[in-house]
């Protein structure tokens, strides 16, 4: 590539990177990723797509870019692994190959790689684990008894061969819990708790297992019931209303901290986080009935409606200047963060904090209005 061309591309990249930071939007990230794709830089494409998806988790185009980049990277690795296996086969190479196929969703390739590995290395727990994971994935998707039972057989064998295989035990504990085989799940959970005492996800699963009732010990029957009903006895760990409330409380505490930090920023007089009819407020706001909140709601709704009808997309940010100083708005879905700042406040920094708060706190429920 000529020097001038390189310089031009690096300038374009720098411009887009800056734009993505200053004014993030799914299309900005897609444009940036596209430049990296054209340059053949897969790692950078992945990084940009992941960064974009962290901010805009529902952006379909970004998801496609991520999938494409992952596939490109994995295809290169598949070729490398195949060539190494041909020269000198080893269980670790098969395991990686099967894991890549699993991530790509190519089940027959997973099965092929694992069976080939098991023919050569019958005592390899790794291949059994990946095969079990693939079967389990199919079971969770289609609820077919054969996939479920095959998955359990592979994972149990993997765990028998390697008693330190936490992943196999964890998957077994979870699938048993979901189909209602609570006693079996408890057995694995007790072992897992000894192996990973500080694991938060395991603690959540343990909590739910403890509170659930055993539906029976005939596995085949339990799997059949799940298939016939078309749903699991228990939802995924962490989905029970009680635990959702705990998760929501923890998200709320993070939200309150962010809002406090925002209100403490130099030049900020009022700070509010609004979701639907509820609001959290900080700064010079006396109560949740402060007219500032109503003004923010009205202005952001009008801005949203105007943006859409003018065909300029969804309203993200607004800066309103006047003798009162500045009103800054940041909106995503039904969430609006707003700040009343004095003139001369660091608008960019405040907006960036507001954006972080809105993006990170979307899943936090607001319990009640408060000051």
């Amino acid at each position: 590539m000529k020097i001038l061309q390189k310089l031009k591309i690096s300038r374009e990249l720098a411009r887009l990177e800056r734009k993505a930071k200053e004014n993030p939007s799914p299309s900005t990230y897609v444009d940036l990723a596209q430049v990296h794709v054209n340059l053949g830089s897969v790692d950078e494409t992945l990084r940009v797509a992941e960064e974009g998806l962290a901010l805009f988790p529902n952006a379909e185009e970004l998801k496609r870019v991520l999938k494409f980049a992952k596939k490109s990277r994995m295809n290169t690795r598949i070729r490398e692994l195949r060539s190494r296996i041909n020269k000198s086969p080893a269980p670790v190479l098969y395991r990686e190959l099967a894991s890549i196929y699993l991530e790509l969703g190519d089940f027959s390739a997973v099965q092929g790689a694992c069976e080939e590995c098991l023919r050569r290395f019958p005592e390899d727990s790794g291949a059994l684990l990946v095969l079990g994971q693939a079967r389990l994935k199919n079971f969770y998707r289609d609820l077919t008894v054969s996939d479920g039972l095959e998955a359990v057989a592979c994972l149990e064998k993997a765990f028998t061969l390697d008693q330190a295989c936490i992943k196999a035990a964890r998957l077994l504990a979870e699938v048993f819990y979901r189909v209602g085989a609570i006693d079996r799940s408890r057995q694995y959970m007790e072992r897992l708790r000894g192996m990973e005492p500080d694991d938060k996800e395991l603690q959540i699963l343990w909590q739910e297992v403890k509170e659930s009732e055993n539906q029976g010990n005939d596995l085949e029957n339990l799997f059949r019931e799940v298939e016939a009903r078309g749903r699991f006895v228990n939802g995924p760990p962490g989905s029970s209303p009680k635990l959702r409330k705990i998760a929501s409380n923890s998200a709320m505490s993070g939200l309150k901290k962010s809002l406090m930090r925002l209100a403490d920023t130099q030049g900020v007089r009022k700070a509010a986080y609004i979701k639907g009819s509820k609001a959290l407020v900080r700064g010079e706001i006396k109560s949740a009935r402060d007219p500032f909140l109503r003004a923010v709601r009205v202005i952001s709704r009008s801005a949203q409606r105007t943006s859409r009808r003018m065909d300029i997309g969804s309203f993200n940010k607004g800066v309103l200047d006047g003798p009162f100083g500045q009103i800054l708005l940041c909106s995503l879905g039904d969430v609006v963060a707003s700040v009343l700042a004095v003139e001369g406040a660091n608008t960019e920094m405040i907006l960036s904090r507001m954006q972080d708060m809105v993006a990170g706190a979307l899943y936090a429920g607001l319990g009640r209005e408060r000051t």
């Binding site: 900005t28 007219p291 003004a295 105007t306 997309g313 993200n316 309103l320």
Partner: protein, 117 residues
Amino acid sequence: MQRILAELNEEVGVKGSAVVTEDGILVTSALSSSMQGEVISALSSFLISTTKRALTECGMEHFGRFIITSTHGKLVLVTLPKSYLVVVADQFINLDVTLLTIQGAAKKLEKMSQINV
């Protein structure tokens, strides 16, 4: 007025501009073919009046400038003595630079309206 708007539209990223009154009358416009003057003035008027009303309710009289950033574009409203300058831009515009030109155009329009009065 048309000349001022046409000059403003030459800035990189500016898609069109117009001068509208709060009650939705289109004073003048320089918009691309994809934008309809009446639609822009009606929507701007809606945004201006609701924003002004909301501000008045919390004792904040009026605003001088309102910048909206959306996923596919930006909208800038600047208050003039009896009207508003509306600028529609694409999402890639560097407003740090273009805002100076927009403010300059607003000043020129302001002077012009004083002469007209």
